[in-house]
Amino acid sequence: MDVAATNPLLDGLRIEPTPEPTVLVIFGASGDLTNRKLLPALYQLARGQRLPAQFKVLGVARTDWTDDAFRAHFHDSLKQFAGLAQPDDVSTALASDLFYVGGEMDDPALYSRIAAKISEPGWPDGVLFYFAIPPSVYGDVVKRLSEAGLVKPRTPAGWRRVIVEKPFGTDLKTARDLNAVLHQHLDEPQIFRIDHYLGKETVQNLLVFRFANGMFEPVWNRRYIDHVQITAAETVGVERRAGYYEGAGALRDMVQNHLMQVLTLVAMEPPIRFSAENVRDRKLDALLSIQPLVPQNGENGGAHNVVRAQYTAGWVNGKEVPGYRQEDGVSPTSVTETFVALRLQLDSWRWAGVPFFLRTGKRLPKRTTEIAIQFRRPPLHIFKRVSPTPIAPNLLIVNVQPDEGISLRFEAKLPGSRMQLAPVMMNFRYGSAFGKPVPEAYETLLLDALLGDPTLFARHDFVENSWALITPVHQMWEASGLESIPTYEAGEWGPPEADHLIQADGRRWRTL
């Protein structure tokens, strides 16, 4: 047996295989994302022994730091966001593999310094670039990386990958432009477009739930399902992101990426095997089956399918909060939507006639993300005479956050001599069933990128087709020239118009 070809000691080892030797180059190393998410995720991966045997991190940013300053920043980040009051052996060892190069992103000399650093003896030739920088500079950074010869490995065993943070464009045109720039210098398999929703355990579990159980898939279609509701509710306002959010709004910020990913996992056909391309192909099929939100021949067609709104002053999480237009950095005449509700129709054999309702917003009463599959009622209510209470339809709820799990609602007989019915819930919760901490999405996704597994990352065609669906809505809104949009009081579940949207279909939003 050729012991040298593969690592025989991994056979049967419960700790998963670790990635090949890697240099992680983080652009935006002094930024908020690196501080809050990436550095804590790296530490947790090190604790779980998931980092490569040879691993270096090269931080890149404009901030004038030394290696030691970056390492001190790393320890501060762990203190603040990983609950590590004092450096431990693991963080100390990992810190010694942290290095830093400072400079302006548009300065060619910066890339020469990066090239010199990662070519030093002992530095691996597998390089993962992480773009934790504004999307407006992605194209320029990729171009300069390419010009410096950094997107091609030095050795046959080497590799180069790039993780790109959302947003991937702001509409169809910019998304296409961005993909075109990336594809000028990189092949699609080298590009990992991160959507942290896909790193959530419950979202991944959707595939297992649907395709590793024999009992759900047969009823997962128009014959048994009445409609689907996907809700992503936040209690926070725009916080420090007003500059970005003013130009984005809820439709761009949440629907085009996160909710479309979730929707397609719910709606996709079974892939023939669990491989990145098969899963992503089936998701794309589901996306392509969604009917245009704004019919090309109907002037106000979109009004039936989309509702937008903006929060006004109200009361959330036990305190009074200002309205959106009163937030720091927000225009007092802003018509940016902080809430959006949509009605989607999928034109496929599986889903014809089954509406998918999506809603997402800021300053809603509670923070929760869930997928609710509502089944059709039984064709005949045989208990009507003895139990006049209407039968509640069966409901399957996938809790994405914060309490990850799955619940099933069904009818049961109330104890007693009378035949009375009442809905009951059967609950599965990740937190209590397995007793293990659920990994942070960034840990999962960073590790997948290190391993070169793109399953949980967005492909270029998915991104573009998602924009193709959303962009006409923005164009319709812009064309309307409205100076105000519907409002909802902070701490309420959106505007009345959102209720009307779903009620027009004979349904109603779940009370969460």
Partner: protein, 312 residues
């Protein structure tokens, strides 16, 4: 006589065997009322068999686990009782002094149907071990001297996935070496000598057996096992060293820090420090219960370990 603080499940209710299920249902209902919230999903039955004293700390470990996971714990000590009473808590059942020939019947009656059953073997007659394997999806050997249990593993593995809790404790050690062997330049050089120092001779043999079976060593690789220092719960070994042409790989436990330091000396020198993990009985058995499948690497390691002489 058992002292009061050594009573198995001292907070449990004493009930006849026939009333166990009804009592569990009542306690679960009361628990839900007290704590609020819905019923939890159950995931497994864990049967612990052993002498009374060894069941006490197992009960403690499983109490923590049952709080975190949906586990039903059944603790049984062997004795001469044919009509035993049981002590029952919300998550656990304790039966003291049950006649070994009825062990099977008790487990068959009390295990959760349709969910995996793990048997945590902390002592008892080898015949009972063989019998109970029929009811177990997974058998976890956890005895100080596993010689007799190990000797019958090959007759059990077709019925039940078998492991030894030592194997779980060695996971971090194994993964550290495997990590270093990810480097092609390390695994391409033939090993000439393996030295293992530790307090548990069976753990040392198992580890050596694993390397021998996984790396297909012949008799040309010298294996040197020697007792050293004191082991704590988290680490059955103190150090492992591999000599190869141009490389020296060493892994040593950092006694005070709960970490392993792995080092490659020579060409391509490299160092890694990794945590040993929590290492408590709760954590180790919790990790083991997360495994549901047959562990062929363990079986091969054990077969090889049985051919390696223990230190004197």
């Amino acid at each position: 006589m058992t002292s009061p603080d050594m009573t198995l499940l001292p907070n449990g209710r004493e009930v006849p065997f026939a009333d166990i299920e009804a009592t569990l249902a009542r306690l679960a209902r009361d628990g839900r009322r007290r704590k609020g919230g819905p019923a939890r999903a159950l995931t497994a039955t864990v049967v612990v068999v052993g002498e009374h004293d060894r069941l006490i700390d197992a009960a403690d470990a499983l109490a923590h686990l049952s709080e975190a996971e949906g586990v039903r714990a059944i603790l049984i000590s062997e004795g001469g009782e044919t009509t035993p009473t049981a002590r029952v808590t919300e998550h656990a059942i304790g039966i003291a002094g049950l006649a070994p020939k009825f062990l099977n019947n008790a487990v068959a009656a009390l295990r959760l149907s349709s969910l995996p059953t793990a048997v945590w073997w902390r002592g008892g007659a080898p015949e009972s071990l063989q019998e109970i394997a029929h009811l177990a999806d997974r058998l976890i050997i956890d005895v100080l001297d596993p010689s007799s249990a190990w000797s019958i593993v090959d007759t059990i593995v077709e019925q039940s996935a078998v492991t030894d809790l030592r194997w779980t404790r060695l996971t971090r050690w194994r993964s550290v070496i495997a990590h270093l062997f990810d480097l092609p330049e390390v695994r391409s050089v033939p090993v000439t000598r393996l030295s293992i120092a530790g307090a548990d001779p069976f753990a040392a043999r198992l580890f050596a057996g694993w390397l021998r079976s996984a790396l297909h060593w012949g008799t040309d690789v010298t294996i040197d096992l020697r007792p050293s220092g004191s082991s704590d719960q988290r680490a059955p070994l103190d150090s492992v060293e591999l000599d190869a042409d141009g490389h020296h790989v060493s892994i040593a436990r950092r006694a005070t820090r709960g970490c392993l330091r792995a080092e490659i000396a020579g060409r391509d020198a490299s160092t890694r420090v990794v945590p040993l993990g929590e290492g408590t009985l709760t954590a180790v058995i919790g990790e083991e219960l997360g495994v549901r499948t047959r562990d062929l690497a363990f079986e091969r390691a054990l077969a090889a370990a049985l051919e390696i002489p223990a230190w004197q």
